[in-house]
């Protein structure tokens, strides 16, 4: 009963916010898992009307996928720069990551508009509904990620700059960002390639 004074803050040794992010990402797997499962269930069905194969443009989407993958690289560079306490470089790489993410989003908006003009609308049939909702939710995740990155960049402008162990943390946003990237790899394969 009696005993120590110090409150141990991390029984597992993993930083609490980071652990929270891991738990959050594990539920995101179920979130995207449900979306992907729905997409796969309907993909194999026979239903009259336009199909995804009638509209998509694989070379274009491959390029924007490449852009998103490169943003993971710049994210790692930003994290590395912060570990070396180089605030200047951290901000540059953060902004680069946000820019690459925005390019990907712009590509998605362009793609959606193209499809729409070809007559492949949200309510056309089950194939278009599952496509837009699945990739749209991923796009929303990328958008939120970009907002986080820009927020981090703005906070980084302050006198004391960013640090790895306080407040709105770069490391935990990086986890989120990489996760959203990995989800895209799965989505690109499932939606476009197979």
């Amino acid at each position: 009963m009696s005993g120590g004074h110090d409150y141990p803050h991390e029984s597992t040794g993993v930083e609490t916010r980071k652990l929270g992010m891991w738990v959050f990402l594990s539920t995101e797997i179920l979130f995207f898992g449900t979306l992907i499962t729905t997409f796969m269930i309907f993909k194999g069905r026979d239903f009259p009307g336009m199909k995804l194969t009638d509209v998509y443009d694989i070379p274009f989407t491959s390029v924007s996928s490449f852009v998103l993958l490169m943003s993971s690289l710049t994210m790692v560079l930003a994290h590395n720069a912060l570990e070396n306490e180089d605030q200047e470089k951290t901000r540059v790489w953060l902004l680069a990551t946000a820019m690459l993410g925005s390019v990907f989003l712009a590509g998605q908006i362009y793609e959606f508009t193209e499809f729409y003009h070809k007559g492949f609308e949200l309510s056309t049939n089950i194939f278009s509904s599952t496509f837009y909702v699945l990739t749209g939710f991923h796009g929303l995740h990328v958008f939120i990620g970009v907002v986080f990155l820009i927020g981090l960049w703005i906070i980084g402008q302050r006198q004391k700059g960013l640090s790895l162990d306080s407040g709105f943390n770069l490391e935990f946003i990086a986890l989120y960002w990489h996760f959203v990237d990995i989800v895209w790899i799965v989505l690109f394969t499932v939606v476009y390639l197979i």
């Binding site: 009963m1 029984s11 929270g20 738990v23 539920t27 179920l30 049939n125 089950i126 599952t130």
Partner: protein, 652 residues
């Protein structure tokens, strides 16, 4: 003593709140105990509303061919009764227990993310208000040529597609009004709340345990909280997506669940029950945890088979994800799937049985102290076993096909969720009453409450078994006189009012004892776990210094030793220890920093209903209000430190 922290400068949008009393102290609080109490009261309020809805249903069904309610109103009432009891009553009352007790049981100052905890509470409140605003703003609407075309009163403005919202009945074609949108978006908001609290509890249990509180030394209630948090975290994303599909179908013309565009209504059932069955365990596991605390304390014996109970809890949680289709035996699923889910449903009875036998093993040969919490815990075991056994009968597919949509099913799940979850919750409310309020409840009134509730409960739900087997179908507003179902329906309705009476007795006891009750000692039950080592009511700072836990049931071992025959013998030092603990608990040696209150959880969550209305009414201004509130909330939150760096005395 703790120091009141005065923020010395305005760090971001609003000045840091500092009120300690009055309404603002509650709105801005991040203290897990205050949040727990707010959860409890708000959930009890919704429990009363859900109860009133049930009474209205029972008045309608008390006589054959009754016309107290119209069909439309009846549909709205049973939908809201189910939705309210699941999402706005039992889940949040469990959350009240989690919030209040979890940090105390693992020896922590607060949860891992105190502001996130406030956020999940306020999101839940706004979600509940949003859902109930359907009575004011919603419309049920009438499908062309449907019976709903008759005029309906305000009661009929509520969602009317059942708490399960089966498609396409709950789609825009058959439910053209806005009520089902309120339902879909309301549940979405409530889901966010539970999801956020699940992250918080998982991280709290993993990371905030005090020294020596290894996983296998945690109280069973904490273990069950852990299991529930995992269930929430992995089942809510599924229903979130399904509800998004519903909203898209209703608002944006997609056809996820409509065959017209290639969609599939059975997919909704799969997604709903893939969430809905784990949800059943989300409702019942907290009660398992509560009785696992109460039975050993009032039997004066250790919990029989602690590891077995813990692993059985996780076994239930895990298998709970593999039984969902037993809700769908009457739907279009293949015979192989029916056989598979029938078998998995039988298998899940095994870990549940393990728990029952362990509880019986705990009270076997114990020195039973039949106080109100113990009575409710014993009542829980009895009623839950009845509900569990009728549940196993549903795993037999041919029998289940016969029972589907009859009152037999209604009887079954009320024995599990009322006889199980609610009895467990009442046991817990009495058990921890002294810890929360520092007063004792009135034992006589408590026992009267137990017996009236037990009698009323069995009169209400017992006869439903044979009503169902005789063929009375659920969700139907009338039955004909010639069916001869009138007598037992009348008994059921009388039982429902006896339950209402017992709830009034409970409320009277609660309000009286909270003010005028005897002062409670800090360990009134000679309990076993460390939340009883601190003063009652719990001080703001919980533990004056971090407890050092050396064993399972640490507090018991500090008070009792074993003689050669294994009997518990009170240590000579026990009384001195208690006196010392009380002294230490009220007077911490060091200054304790606690997280500061914050406006932002409230601000952020107040934006969500606006987004909901914006989707329903396709209104850009409402959406902007919602987005602005959420942005202000998150920006302020992100730039506000959890604990203000306060001026130390020397500097002043």
């Amino acid at each position: 003593m703790t120091k009141i922290i005065e923020p010395d400068k305005q760090t971001n949008i609003f000045r840091r709140p500092s009120s300690e009393y009055g309404i603002w102290s509650w709105i801005t609080t991040v203290d897990h105990k205050k949040i727990g109490i707010m959860y409890g009261y708000a959930a009890f309020f919704f429990l009363l509303i859900g109860g009133l809805e049930a009474l209205v249903l029972r008045i309608q069904l008390a006589q054959p061919d009754n016309n107290f309610l119209s069909a439309a109103e009846y549909n709205a009432m049973f939908t809201m009764h189910g939705t309210t009891m699941v999402f706005l009553a039992i889940m949040p009352i469990s959350a009240a227990f989690f919030n209040y007790l979890l940090p105390l049981q693992i020896g922590a100052r607060d949860v891992a993310f105190p502001r996130l905890n406030a956020l999940s509470f306020w999101i839940w409140v706004f979600g509940g208000l949003f859902l109930y605003s359907t009575f004011v703003f919603g419309t049920a609407g009438a499908p062309e040529g449907g019976y709903l075309a008759e005029e309906v009163g305000w009661l009929g403005n509520a969602p009317n597609g059942g708490w399960f919202g089966y498609q396409p009945n709950a789609g825009f074609k058959y439910s053209p009004g806005t009520a089902m949108d309120y339902w879909a978006i309301g549940l979405q908001i409530l889901g966010i709340s539970s999801l956020v609290s699940a992250f918080n509890f998982i991280v709290t249990i993993l990371n905030m345990r005090t020294q020596g509180m290894r996983l296998m030394r945690m109280p069973v209630f904490t273990w069950m909280t852990f299991a529930v948090a995992f269930l929430l975290a992995f089942s809510l994303p599924i229903i979130a997506i399904a509800l998004f599909y519903v909203t898209f179908d209703r608002q944006f013309g997609t056809t996820f669940f409509l065959t017209e565009g290639g969609g599939d209504p059975v997919l909704w059932q799969h997604l709903f029950w893939l969430f809905g069955h784990p949800e059943v365990y989300i409702l019942i596991l907290p009660a398992f945890g509560i009785v696992s605390e109460i039975l050993p304390t009032f039997s004066r014996k250790p919990l029989f088979g602690y590891p077995a109970i813990v692993f059985a809890g996780f076994g239930i949680a895990f298998i709970g994800f593999g039984v969902w289709a037993h809700h769908m035996f009457a739907s279009a699923i293949s015979p192989v799937a029916q056989a598979g889910f029938g078998i998995s449903t039988m298998i899940i009875a095994v870990p549940t049985g393990v728990k029952i036998f362990n509880w019986l093993g705990t009270i076997w040969g114990g020195k039973l102290n039949l106080k109100t919490p113990m009575l409710f815990a014993l009542g829980f075991i009895g009623m839950f076993v009845i509900g569990g056994l009728s549940g196993v009968t549903h795993s037999v597919v041919p029998a289940d096909t016969q029972q589907t949509d009859t009152y037999y099913i209604v009887a079954h799940f009320h024995y599990v969720l009322f006889g199980g979850a609610m009895f467990g919750i009442f046991a817990g409310l009495y058990y921890w009453f002294p810890k929360v309020w520092g007063k004792m409840y009135n034992e006589t009134l408590g026992q009267i409450h137990f017996w009236t509730m037990l009698i009323g409960f069995n009169l209400t739900f017992g006869p439903m078994h044979w009503l169902g087997l005789q063929g009375q179908v659920r969700r139907t507003w009338v039955y004909a006189e010639e069916t001869n179902l009138g007598f037992w329906n009348l008994i059921v309705s009388i039982g429902a009012f006896i339950i209402a009476l017992s709830i009034l007795i409970f409320m009277a006891n609660w309000m009286y004892s909270k003010r005028k009750g005897e002062k409670a000692p800090f360990d009134p039950w000679d309990a076993r776990t460390i939340e009883w080592t601190i003063p009652s009511p719990t001080p703001v700072w919980n533990f004056s210094k971090a407890p050092h836990v050396k064993a399972l049931d640490d507090f018991w071992h500090a008070k009792y030793d074993e003689d050669e025959e294994g009997r518990a013998v009170r240590r000579d030092s026990a009384d001195a220890l208690l006196a010392q603990l009380e002294e230490e608990g009220l007077n911490p040696e060091e200054e304790i920093e606690l997280p500061n209150p914050s406006y932002y959880p409230f601000v952020l969550s107040s934006g969500l209903p606006f987004l909901g209305y914006a989707v329903i009414y396709k209104s850009i201004p409402l959406a902007l209000i919602g987005v602005v509130l959420i942005l202000v909330g998150s920006f302020g939150w992100a730039t506000e430190p959890l604990e203000e760096e306060f001026r130390s005395e020397e500097e002043e």
